[in-house]
Symmetry: C2
Subunit: 231 residues, 2 copies
């Protein structure tokens, strides 16, 4: 699966070249400040997007104000497709972001017209679907500790460039609230869980947003269910 994520849209060199080729001047660039929304649930879905730099989150809000963060996106990720004519989620910049915007109609036509693009796009969607289902398992069937451990491991996998991922330092772009909303937990539970992992010396926290995985094996064991409780 890791390999697959490096194909498709998530390693978008070839894909983007073909797209820009097919769509030319209609592609434009937008800059967003942290906290700014790119689109809001319900509004007309006129563009598909690709992140050039920065980190964004895509989420839904319930009537009672609870949020569920569907996915975090980083440089190279494409998103904003919808089978509906309206956006079904809200996309918001976590850090300052630069985003490439593809007019949706043209984007879809360009993709449909090219078998190679189609195949690539299909693969991306299937990967997203698979990830969404993994998250369903995580939220539906794992303890808070397992969820947080899995989240950290996933983060380590996705942080490219480091050779020894388990010794690398990570910087969390997202807040505790974002993590909580992503994992189906409360902010307090996320905090307590991180504190417990710190106590067990499985992670080291240089600051609230910077940490290191000190004991990868233990973190994996916790993610699988070993000693996965807070007290």
């Amino acid at each position: 699966m890791d390999k697959l994520e490096r194909n498709g849209l998530d390693a978008p060199m070839i894909f983007r070249a073909a797209l820009v080729d097919g769509m030319g001047a209609s592609v434009c660039i937008r800059h967003l400040k942290a906290g700014e929304t790119l689109y809001v649930e319900g509004e007309s879905a006129d563009y598909c997007y690709e992140i050039v730099s920065g980190v964004m989150k895509e989420y839904n809000t319930l009537e009672d104000g609870k949020r569920q963060v569907a996915e975090f996106y980083k440089a190279g990720d494409m998103f904003g497709f919808s089978e509906s004519d309206d956006q079904l989620h809200t996309a918001e910049a976590i850090t300052g972001c630069t985003v490439r915007c593809y007019p949706r109609e043209a984007f879809m036509k360009t993709v449909a017209a090219s078998p190679a693009l189609s195949a690539s796009f299909l693969e991306t969607l299937m990967t997203r679907l698979h990830r969404a289902r993994e998250r369903m398992v995580m939220i539906g069937r794992m303890s808070a500790m397992q969820r947080v451990a899995t989240f950290l491991l996933r983060l380590a996998d996705n942080t490219d460039g480091e050779d020894d991922a388990h010794l690398a330092q990570f910087h969390l772009a997202m807040s505790r609230q974002d993590i909580a909303d992503h994992l189906g937990l409360t902010i307090e539970t996320v905090c307590r869980t991180l504190t417990e992992l710190k106590k067990r010396q499985i992670i080291v926290m240089e600051s609230a947003r910077v940490f290191t995985i000190a004991d990868l094996a233990s973190l994996e064991a916790v993610a699988m269910g070993a000693r996965s409780r807070l007290h």
Copy 2:
């Protein structure tokens, strides 16, 4: 969204015609008894499937035996696509089933070669993705009562043919365990929740698998969060 589900693969007349056209004799039919598996997580993914009759479930199993049912499929639904060469889920017949099998390679080629098929297939995948995310919200952010109510409403929507859905009788193909594994709950909680809905006269249960929605408005209110607790 209802309308969209009636296009794409979920109303597969045109789609299937084009597919069979392109793939001809390589399509075959399988019959499954209740409880039989069509494919198992990890095995080679050689086919995509379309249900002719019956109900199936697609699920994942965790190390500790917990299951998460990703989706239920009924006549007309297509499934079994995977971006990997292996199956990522297990598919099992709930009732006796008849299934049409499309060789995966040929299926993907046929789809990629036709812009119309591509567009239709993309739409299906996006719909699935959207549903998966809705379920994430449900599992991550709703009470047991809300989840069950939402599940029943969704079931009512999908039961086609009835004019007055809120007065129609439903037959549940799946067991309480299946429902629990779908909603991220235990079988006991599902039972208690149904009992409570029965007590409140929101639903009527003719038998364990047959019931009627007696008070659609209240069920919707419960799904939205009103009086969504067991005691």
